[in-house]
Amino acid sequence: MPSKPAMLIVDDESNVARTLKMVFEREGFEVETAFSCADALKLLDKKPPLDVLITDLNMEREDIGLEVARAAQQLKKRPVIVICTGYANPNNAQEALDLRVDYLATKPADLNELLAALRRLLALRAAQRGAAQ
């Protein structure tokens, strides 16, 4: 049986992070949470390869979630990167597009839509890796 996809959820609102963790664990993901950019960066270094990163934007400071996305972008095995924010604006959305973030969800996020997007992106990633081998 294939192993569960590994997900890191980064949000300084612990209730949001914990609720998303509960939802995605129920959907078959192995979920870890971080409540700040600093904690997320430490986890990105330590953890075995992640399949999905979902990060908030505004934590220790505005738009710091883009730093988490940037760090994830540079990992050897790049995860699917999702930004989930209530504070999207043309500047941070442009930066997310330039970073080639895979999905931008605005809070309150439609979880069914997000889940469908994640499944599509993970399947695409798997197909690309399969083709490259």
């Binding site: 604006n89 043309p90 959305a93 597009l97 999905y103 931008l104 695409l124 690309q128």
Partner: protein, 133 residues
Amino acid sequence: MSIADRSAPKALVVHSDLGTLAGIQDALSRGGCEIVAARDLPTALMAATHHFFHVVVISSRVTEEGDGWPLAGVMHLIFPQAYIAVIAPDKNVCSLQAAINHGATHVFETKTAPSEIAGAILKKFPTPSKRLQ
């Protein structure tokens, strides 16, 4: 294989306005790209089954409001490494979010001149004519 290894980037341009279509087509051709033009979705989809595109330029409104976005998503699935630009009325959060979520690379505003669009795209690709300079 990097784009620099290829002789001439092939571009699909999808726009219902003949003037804009011709403008982008001319400017990209002068820059050394091979162009396939389409004014509607069926022609664009048919072109994707016959050619390998390195660049795709799509109006966010091909035949109706917003139908260019899912077309961009389809093109991203077929040509995951392609540079996909969408021409939208505004570069606001909604357009940028749609671009990210459909796998587009760049958003141009409708008011952008075709030559400027082509110039920005050609900067990304060392086409044969540019390499000779």
